[in-house]
């Protein structure tokens, strides 16, 4: 199915979870947060949260700024 990850369209398996998609964009063990369709998904819930067609996933981390 097709989802949007950090603004880019991406094809993922039908059983994809938030955890599996996050793993595909970063291997950082911490310092990362996720919003699924503009709602925060806590790290503890990543593995149990399945992706659906056309979902928008944002994966953010801290960068230099301010």
């Amino acid at each position: 199915m097709k989802v949007i990850v950090n603004g880019e369209p991406r094809e993922v398996p039908d059983d994809a979870t938030v955890a599996s998609v996050v793993e595909s964009v970063t291997d950082a063990p911490s310092g990362v947060a996720v919003a699924l369709n503009a709602e925060i998904v806590r790290r503890a819930d990543w593995a149990a949260t399945t992706m659906r067609e056309a979902d928008r996933l944002e994966v953010l981390t801290a960068v230099q700024g301010g």
Binding site: A28, G31, V34, I40, T61, V63, Q64, G65, G66
Partner: protein
Amino acid sequence: MEASPLKAPESPNPASEASEIEYSEQASRSEPCEWSEAMSTEHLVIGGEKFTSRLIMGTGGAPSMRALEEALTASGTELTTVAMRRVNPTAHGSVLDVLRRCGIRVLPNTAGCFTAGEAVLTAKLAREALDTNWIKVEVIADERTLLPDPIELLTAAEQLVADGFVVLPYTNDDPVLARRLEQAGCAAIMPLGSPIGSGLGIRNPHNIELIVEQAGVPVVLDAGIGTASDAALAMELGCDAVLLATAVTRAQEPARMAAAMRHAVTAGRLARTAGRIPKRRYAQASSPWEGIGGS
């Protein structure tokens, strides 16, 4: 701080008392050789947390992670801002690693947000990613000036305070807005000296003084600092701390400028608390008139 006619009759902010600056007059009398920011009796207190350094740093604009680390170390800062952005799989090194190595507390910001809704979501993402409920709220109106949008800023601040955040708002140098932000429960007020990255210094020192006079929470001069004298002036005007980034990170020698800022903030604070002489229209001789030879 003295009471001011501008001060709201009652502060609805329960944290304001705890957030006030601790200052012991007695402590100022001893050890004159050790005047420095290390004076343990005079901490900056924000949201119940104590800081020895009154210089809050940003991390934007540094030419490299190594230059950033050297500058942060030279600045003596204990609190430093980061922005939240989409992960970049090709990025090398993380600003978080630098802060961890330096033992500096992280202060995420909501830079780049134009609405209260965006700022609130960014703050929640930062809390989740960085395990802190501290947030520098920044809601800008346009990209050309990067000036805060006061309506969106106040809305975001109210929502974030209600959600348990320790809110440090980047705001205009408007005493009325500053008061509204404090009444909303913000842990500090962070007025700009001039636009972000402009290096124009403090364009309206009178307003900064008004904000300081009425504030029951720490006032942090945020944005516009160009060089050390600007930072010293902020402290002489009564600000409790200075937040700066560009002036250091884009200086030709960032670590050297960071050291300059560290000294400037300390000097300005000492000057403020020492009680400067009044300005006079005419001279006042510092040498005695009596006993001049040959007269």
